[in-house]
Structures are given as structure tokens and as C-alpha cells.
Amino acid sequence: MRVLVVEDDDVTAEMLEHALGEFGYEVEIARNGREAFRQIRTGRYRLVVSDWEMPEMTGVELCRQIRKRRFGGYVYVILLTSRSGTRNVVEGLNAGADDFISKPFQPEELCVRLRAGERILSLQSRDLTIFAMAKLAESRDPETGAHLERIREYSRVLAEQLSRRTELRDQLDDEYIQTLYLTSPLHDIGKVGIPDRVLLKPGRLTADEFEVMKRHTAIGGETLEAVGRAHPGAQFLQMACDIAWSHHEKFDGSGYPRGLAGEEIPLCSRIVALADVYDALTTKRVYKPAYSHETAREIILEGTDTQFDPAMVEAFLQRESQFLTIRQQFADGEEPREEPSTTSPAIC
């Protein structure tokens, strides 16, 4: 992996390059913050080890400039400094530094801190890979547009609203919500196993064809289960698996594939179920026009207790304006602009 070392002191720069090279890193050196910033803008560097005091632009100022912009991925910055004291640490962290190493550096300490940085960066890569997989699975169907982007936003909004309920507060913590955001796009990943004649049929499915389509839940769930068994440490896979299996279950047990009811249906699946239906109703499909928000709202309300968990419906009603914003922000094409119903409760 490439590391950018930012150091105006020649001797230290060369020693850092040597040590990092021994640890397997590919090292480039910049002599000051300004030069470093030009290098970072190329997008080639995700790891930066920077001195604090330098001419033209200090390491702290470099951090600030890095954090002001997006570079297509996170840039992990370690400040190398002989400064000590809480005030300096706070200044560095406020500026956006991720870690500190005291000067003179110890090679092994530098190595372990860079490895920690790599672990942080790999999490971002994981998130991108997951979304890419979901998009790939969806890509055969030309109608879905920004469906996945909307689903994860709707799911997050619902989860945030639900987290205010006393009985769900502990379960719906920040980590849960973030994992839901990450894994909800995988709900239909099983569709890769559905033949084109069914998946891409330009009209309503026959009963037999619908039975074939329904199998996408089991295909997705079983696939993610198998991956989860091979990688038991990847906890997000359990949620992805639950969502893939159960996002078509109905609250009254009349759903598929297993006829789960009530709280037998995992919470994440109950959330995604409503998000998925809302999106299906309000986007154009080959067999139907895009329904208005009002119509979708009515259909969802009618489905309270039968199709949908009442708590999910309540959360939806409380966040209608956000649903509309998301729908507009991630619109596939020209959609009618709508306001939420004036009769809906304005509880936020």
C-alpha cells in the first residue's frame, strides 16, 4: 500500500522511507504540506504520515485542507510530532488527524499504527464492495434505477424514528442503523438466480412465474447464510441474511417464503419491507405507473397489521416529509412534486 510521508527534515524523511519500505509500504515523500496536498489530490494516497511543523503549510493545516474535500475515499492521517500535551492533541484531532506518533519515531509503533489505519480504510472498501454487489444483482432489471439508494435511505429514516421507541432504543443503536443502511440494498440479491423470462417479463407474472420469482428470497438468504458460515466474524452478514430471507414476509403471517408472523419476522426485515413497498408503489414499472405519495400512503395504511407492523407504519407517518425528500433527491425521472397529507400526524 502507498504511503505519503510529509517531512521537511531530509534525514528523518529518508529514515521513515526506509522503515516503511521494510514493512512493505510503497513510499513517496513530500517536503511540505502544500506539496503533499497536491499529491493527495491525485487520489493515489489513502495513508499519510505528516510532520507537524513545516514551512509553507503545517501538518495540522494539511489535515484541515484534506478534511474540507472529498478524494474518492477516506485519507487516514497520522501526525508525527514532538509536541505533547492535551491542547496539542486536541488541536490535531480537531483538525482531522486520525492518530499521533511522537518524534523520534519507533519503527514498530509506526507500523502498527499504519496497520490500524489500513483496517479503517478496509471497512470503507467493504462498504463500497457490498453496494457494488447489490447494484450488480440489480443491473439486469433496467427499471430499478436508484431503487437501492432510495431503499437504504428510507430504511435509515424509519430506523431512526423507531429508535425513539422505548422498547426499541437498545436494539436500534447507531451501529444497527449503520448496518441496516449498509445491508438493506442486498434485499433482492437472490434475483441473480431468477431466469430472465421471469425477472424481465414486461407484464404481470402468472401464478407459476410468481412462484419462481418468490424463490429470490431463499436464494439470497441461503447464499448469505453460506457466506456467513465461512466468515463468522462478519456480523453484518447476519442482518443481510435476515433481510434477504424475510423482506416479503407479512405481519399477519400471509407472506413468503416461510409464513413468519409478527415479531418472528426480524425487525430489519419489517423495516425494509415497508421501504421496499413504498418504493415499488411510487416508481414507474412496466406494468404500472408511479403512484402518488398519497396513494402509496393509503395503501400502506390499509396494510397496517396485515402486511406491515403497525410500529413501522407509525414511523413512516412521522417521517413522511423525509420520504418525499428522498424520493425527489433520488428520482429516476420526472416525478410529480407532492406535499405530505395535511391530515397526517405531525409528530417528529
Binding site: 534525514v11 526506509h18 514532538s82 518524534k103 523520534p104 519515531f105 519507533q106
Partner: protein, 122 residues
């Protein structure tokens, strides 16, 4: 402040070879290259420091002293590090009139360092 610094400078050793070898990942050839480069750079920067002082460019004095401190620390030359650090501190505190005295001590430490290195048996 000056007396405390002098005590600190005397207590620190000229050079810790083991520490430098560790920092160079055990590569003695690289250690030799580093020391050669350090000595060359130190001489140049010492002259730059003196020029900055003569020109009353306190900002430059602080910058160069800081760099000398960093490089000295990297090559495990604790006494040089401390002396350069004193000059940096005095410059930041605006006590420029005390710097020439520290600079003399720095030169003395530099001579001692050069001698330590010259006696190394590679």
C-alpha cells in the same frame, strides 16, 4: 531557564548507536548512510541558523532549530537534540539575546558528536 537547559544538555549523551540501529531496522549500511547525510546536513543548517540570527530573522531561527532538533532526535543524538530544542524555545519566547550562548554550546556538542561518530568501528 538557561541553567535548566544546560543541565539537561550535559545529562544527555552525545549519541546512542543502538537506538539508531533500531530505527534503521538493523541495517548497518543504512546507518552509515544516515550518519553521513546527517553530518553534511547539520553543518549546512548550522550555517543557515547563524545567518538567520545575524539577519535577526527569528522565524527562520525557530524553523531551522526545530529541524535540527528533529534530525538530531532521529539519529539518537540526544545532546544535539536538546541544544537545538533550547534555541527553538528561546526563539519562540522572543529571548533572542540568549541564543548566541546556546549556539556556542550547540557547536561544542556538534564537535563531540563528530568525534563519537569518527571513532565508530564499522
Amino acid at each position: 531557564m538557561i541553567m535548566e537547559m544546560e543541565h539537561e544538555g550535559q545529562a544527555a549523551s552525545a549519541f546512542e548507536l543502538d537506538e539508531l540501529v533500531d530505527r534503521c531496522m538493523g541495517n548497518l549500511e543504512f546507518v552509515e548512510r544516515v550518519l553521513t547525510k546527517f553530518q553534511q546536513r547539520f553543518g549546512e543548517q548550522l550555517e543557515e541558523l547563524e545567518r538567520a540570527l545575524a539577519q535577526e530573522d527569528t522565524e527562520r531561527v525557530v524553523l531551522v532549530a526545530h529541524r535540527l532538533k528533529g534530525e538530531s532526535a532521529s539519529v539518537a543524538a540526544a545532546a544535539l537534540r536538546n541544544r537545538a530544542g533550547e534555541i527553538e524555545k528561546l526563539g519562540r519566547a522572543g529571548q533572542v539575546s540568549n541564543i548566541p550562548h546556546c549556539l556556542e554550546r550547540l557547536r561544542a556538542e556538534w564537535a563531540q558528536f563528530a568525534e563519537s561518530v569518527s571513532t565508530l568501528d564499522w
